[in-house]
């Protein structure tokens, strides 16, 4: 009965139902704009709040060598986050060097080689790896992985090669440092890259595989010479997203890298990262300049992950468009 009435009122157009679409559209657009506004606001807030440090030090906030928040009789406070920036880049480099090839292998296995009954549970396991909170990686790293890695790798390697290769030099000490942080972060970013790689590989049209198989290619040659090149933009995008995650990773780095401002060539030595510097010092900042310098570091992190995201999305979008457009 009521339904019938509704139907009639829609058709003669007198009801409020007809006019509900305007507020509905306005409502969704406004709330969707909150997302856009949030991103803009985050950028603006950090930009403004970092002004003091940027005015005082310029690019030296990021690339200066000395980070000394406390004023002494000898020196005024200086803020140069290069040790943290360097630690971030190095640990992320270790993470991406380990994770990218492994993730490519996983993606290939899941998309191309794995029996379909196994693909779903394995994909689920890999995605579970992405769901584990980063602090748990940190706890596990501190109590389990660092002692283990110390014993089987860091100590023997630094004792054997440390005298000849500076970046493998000892002493290993507590075992916290760039290398372990990078390895644990590689485990953390593995699922991000692997599942995206799997997705872009699955988008490759079957005609490409068949054309390669039909000229007598082996299974691997088909994957490596036809499937992977076809989706390489997407794979690069996936690696960029993984890199973005590694650069901004806070908890695992804070717990595992040792939080030292000293620059040491050795990957076994403690260092610090931009994210852990902010996490450790912002709540304890001793001056507004200190605060502002830390916010500058956070702003730089935000900026670089934004650029990486933009690049990655463009890459993946390029692959998607290729699928829809070129019927090759």
């Amino acid at each position: 009965m009521a339904k019938q009435q509704h139907a009639e009122s829609w058709s003669n157009g007198k009801s409020v139902f007809r006019h509900g679409d305007v507020p509905f559209r306005i409502g969704t657009v406004v709330l969707a704009s909150c997302v856009v506004g949030l991103v803009l606001a985050m950028g603006v807030i950090m930009f403004v709040s970092s002004g003091e440090a940027r005015a005082a030090f310029g690019w030296d906030v990021l690339f200066g060598q000395v980070w000394n928040p406390v004023a002494t009789d000898l020196a005024a406070p200086t803020f140069g986050a290069w040790p943290a920036v360097r630690g971030t880049l190095l640990s992320s480099l270790v993470a991406i060097v380990i994770a990218a090839p492994l993730a490519l292998g996983i993606g290939i296995f899941l998309a191309e080689l794995c029996p379909p009954q196994l693909s779903t549970p394995l994909s689920f396991l890999v995605e579970l790896l992405a769901a584990i909170p980063s602090v748990i990686y940190g706890v596990w790293g501190v109590f389990v992985f660092v002692p283990f890695f110390n014993q089987v790798f860091s100590t023997p390697v630094s004792e054997t090669f440390g005298d000849y290769i500076p970046w493998l030099a000892g002493p290993v000490a507590t075992g916290r440092g760039v290398m372990v942080t990078g390895i644990v972060m590689s485990i953390m970013i593995l699922p991000t890259i692997a599942s995206l790689t799997r997705d872009v590989l699955r988008l490759v049209p079957n005609t490409q595989r068949e054309a390669m198989l039909a000229i007598g290619a082996t299974r691997w040659e088909t994957i490596w010479l036809a499937v992977v090149p076809y989706s390489r933009a997407g794979i690069i995008g996936a690696v960029m997203l993984g890199l973005g995650r590694a650069l901004g990773e806070t908890m695992a780095a804070t717990l595992l890298i040792g939080n030292s401002q000293r620059i040491s060539p050795s990957l076994f030595a403690p260092a610090t990262t931009a994210a852990s510097l902010v996490a450790n010092e912002l709540t304890n900042s001793v001056s507004t300049l200190h605060e502002s310098a830390l916010i500058t570091v956070a702003f730089a992190l935000f900026g670089i992950t934004l650029v990486l995201n933009l690049g990655a999305r463009l890459m993946i979008w390029y692959v998607d468009r290729g699928m829809a457009g070129g019927r090759s």
Binding site: T207, A211, I215, G216, A217, T218, L225
Partner: protein, 259 residues
């Protein structure tokens, strides 16, 4: 240059048999056309000849296909070696997107270990000439393969297949995505190629089969058992099939009453 002898070939998708066991002889230096209504399994049978059929998940085939007296489905025969000898061109023209025209043709050569630049250049030119594409692309070899028109891409695919010098060339409805002019080009090309090659072509166009083939195999769908299954109803010389079909189903099909 080689003949194929197909005996008791039965393709399966999972547990379902797609085509009743096929016995057929494919002669050298001839074009054999396979025609029939859609769903009769003609493409499936073609894909069994170079073991492309089994690359589909769950697909398999029973029976024997002798190539130069050796069983394609023999127990220790590697499918990649068979596909090297029995090339294939597909319905949809395929160019490798990230490769230029030259590399599209050279792909099979490189896989098979050809590394010398001069040798590669010569083989690529030869293959493109045999595919009657050389004159159109010789100045743009470094352009992406996907930049070519559909008909050119199909000839590029033929060139790629020819580059590794196969004994047999299988074509799966190669002209169904092309316009009439491109189709005529391909047909002319196939007739030239048959002097050096054994060709099997699946086509949905009876006119095409009549124009270019020497032998014609007609497949039909048998729906009597409730489970549609393809079967070979007649295989004879093309003129025989079209003028004097021995099977009534062939006659009704070519006269347009079925399919």
């Amino acid at each position: 240059m080689s003949s194929m002898t197909i005996s008791q070939l039965a393709p399966f998708y999972g547990a379902r048999q797609a085509v009743k066991a096929v016995d057929m002889q494919i002669a050298t230096q001839e074009i054999t056309a396979i025609i029939g209504p859609s769903g009769c399994g003609k493409s499936t049978v073609l894909r069994c000849l170079n073991r492309m059929h089994e690359t589909i998940l769950g697909a398999s085939a029973k029976g024997t296909v002798l190539l130069n007296g050796e069983d394609v489905y023999g127990s220790n025969v590697d499918a990649t070696l068979i596909r090297r000898k029995v090339g294939m061109v597909f319905q949809q023209p395929v160019a490798f997107r990230t490769r230029n025209i030259y590399e599209n043709v050279a792909a099979g050569l490189r896989i098979n270990g050809m590394t010398h630049k001069a040798e590669l250049d010569q083989s690529v030119e030869e293959a493109l000439r045999s595919a009657v594409l050389w004159d159109e692309v010789k100045d743009v070899l470094s352009k992406p393969g996907t930049a070519l028109s559909g008909g050119q891409q199909q000839r590029l695919a033929i060139a790629r297949a020819l580059a590794i010098k196969p004994d047999v060339l299988l074509l799966d409805e190669p002209c169904s995505a092309l316009d009439p002019i491109a189709t005529a080009n391909i047909e002319e090309l196939l007739v030239q190629l048959k002097t050096t090659l054994t060709i099997v072509i699946v086509t949905h166009s009876m006119q095409q089969a009549a124009r270019i083939s020497d032998q014609t195999a007609v497949f039909m769908v048998d729906t009597t058992s409730g489970n549609p299954i393809g079967e070979l109803v007649e295989k004879s010389s093309t003129s025989n099939v079209f003028t004097n079909p021995s099977d009534p189903r062939t006659e009704s099909y070519i006269s347009g009453r079925v399919g």
